[in-house]
């Protein structure tokens, strides 16, 4: 079971998919990271050398990911709320923040706009 950034992945899983399980790494970021270490898009985790795995971990460690990123975002929201802004209030209420209509189609806002944005994650904060 190879470890990347402290998480273990099965050998048969794609590197791209594995990286994207990390909070803060999406398709674009994973592409760039993989291009940086010359990993082709269809590489499996099992095919990586241990040095590459270490390089990956090191690269990810230099980025703001997982709980750091969550905390950052939550702090931003908290600041808005504490200063008593409209945006902070909308976040607290789970409603659209940027003036969208609320009659229909606010499922995304309900899902995302909350003070505890990003959830607790795989590692408890």
């Amino acid at each position: 079971m190879p470890f990347i950034f402290g998480f273990s992945f099965t050998e048969a899983s794609l590197v791209k998919r594995s990286l994207e399980t990390i909070y803060g790494v999406g398709p674009k970021v994973s592409q760039r990271i993989m291009a940086r270490f010359h990993i082709h898009p269809w590489a499996k985790v099992g095919s990586l050398k241990s040095t590459t795995l270490l390089d990956l971990t090191e690269e990810l460690a230099s980025m703001k990911l997982e709980n750091d990123l969550r905390r950052d975002i939550q702090d931003n929201i908290k600041r808005l709320k504490d200063t008593g802004t409209y945006r902070g209030r909308r976040h607290a209420m789970g409603l659209p923040v940027r003036g969208q209509r609320t009659r229909t189609q606010i499922t995304t806002a309900r899902k995302l706009n909350r003070t505890e944005r990003g959830g607790a994650g795989r590692i408890q904060m």
Binding site: Q31, A35, H38, H40
Partner: protein
Amino acid sequence: MMNSSTCLRSFSQLSLDRTAHASLTSRTLLAPQIACFSTSTARYNQKKGMAAAPKRGTRTLNVKKGRKGVNYEMGKRPAPGERKAQRKRIVLSNDNALPVSWLRDLERSNVLEPTIEGQMMGLPERVVDALRAEEAFKPTQGWGLFRRPATLMRKETVQLAGLVKEIEDANAQQQPRTIRRIISGDRMSGKSTLLLQGLAIAHLRDWFVINLPEANDITNAHTDYAPLPGSQPLQYTQDTYTANLLRQMLKANPSILESTPVVTDHKLPFPLPPKPTLKHIVEHGMANPETSWVCFTALWEELSQPGRPPILFAIDSLAHVMRNSEYMSAEFKPIHAFDLTLIRLFVDLLSGQKTLANGGIILGSLSQSNKPLSVVLDHFVTIAEALQSQPAIVPVWNPYLSRDQRVVDALRGLEDPKQKDFDILRLGGLSKPEARAVIEYYAESGMLRHTVNDSFVTEKWSLAGMGNMGELEKASVRLRL
């Protein structure tokens, strides 16, 4: 008169409805007026809200989700890769087909004879194994219908054999030549098959054969890549692909590799046994993919030594090479296909920057079904075609199109009518005698149940768009017209 009565009735019904729901009047008034006639007489005969209940016992619409009640045959799940292997499986014989009595085999002595033009010739066992090893057979081609693989020696095949003869004659006079050809033609005109025939001829003449079976597989970023240290500008090696290529080369050219000794010191990063042959280098490259490119270059240098056989280097679906690959550099810029080492080698040879020390042929085949847009390649191919047919009128480049300068530099030789060594090989339709030979082979194999006479051949020939080989097969052997 019946119409007017129903019309009246429906109209009165409408007004009745409206009075019944007085509260809704304002809304109904806003609604667009319904036309006062109807083509269905029965509609207002029933009372509203009393749609006839379905008869007892009759089936009503079943809108259950899922496929309940379907019990699949349970069994072992296919292993990973098994399904793909089945899809890509290549069948080269059909036991039901009858053996063709008059079918002669291609041999070392008769491949270069121009007299075999227009005849069906069988491929000998040794060549079939080699071709299968280098994936020259494609699953969509109709090999699986006949007793054993056989091909038609068409006009273009004989031209290709003529090139092989030219190279051998030049070698005999100690003046090695490198001839480069790009095979072009319509869809299903037999480009890949001509490539295969070229490979077969080279095998029979004991050339060293390297075949890149599908350019798409090299550039579509499905195998690993790594920067080649010390290269300027940076090139990339594909270790797994190269190791696999070495395996295919060993299977296809076993006798040459086994019998040829290593004569120069390549400073390989691994020890070689005493009295090494080329096979040892190749086997090491196969087993250790990280050294595969080093092994390949060592092998290439060995083959460039004097006295070694000529080389046929071939690639299919050339258009995939003439563009950026799917690989990304460390700076997240697309890597041009020319920066992949294998393709760099091929393109250098194709453009004439490098030549083969012992002579040989560089053969690229276009594809019309799996082809990415490569404006430059298309342009140069049309130029070369025009130069062959009508040298006075040659298309000019549309200055408003952007072009890939590296590809232009590589293909520039096609523009130059003086460069006889770099040209295209245009595949047209079969002639009628050729079509007749093929159809007679089909009939003799029992795959075509019809008497072969002139009118039948002509009919199929014209159905096949003036003798397009693939369409001819479709029209006469395949069961879908």
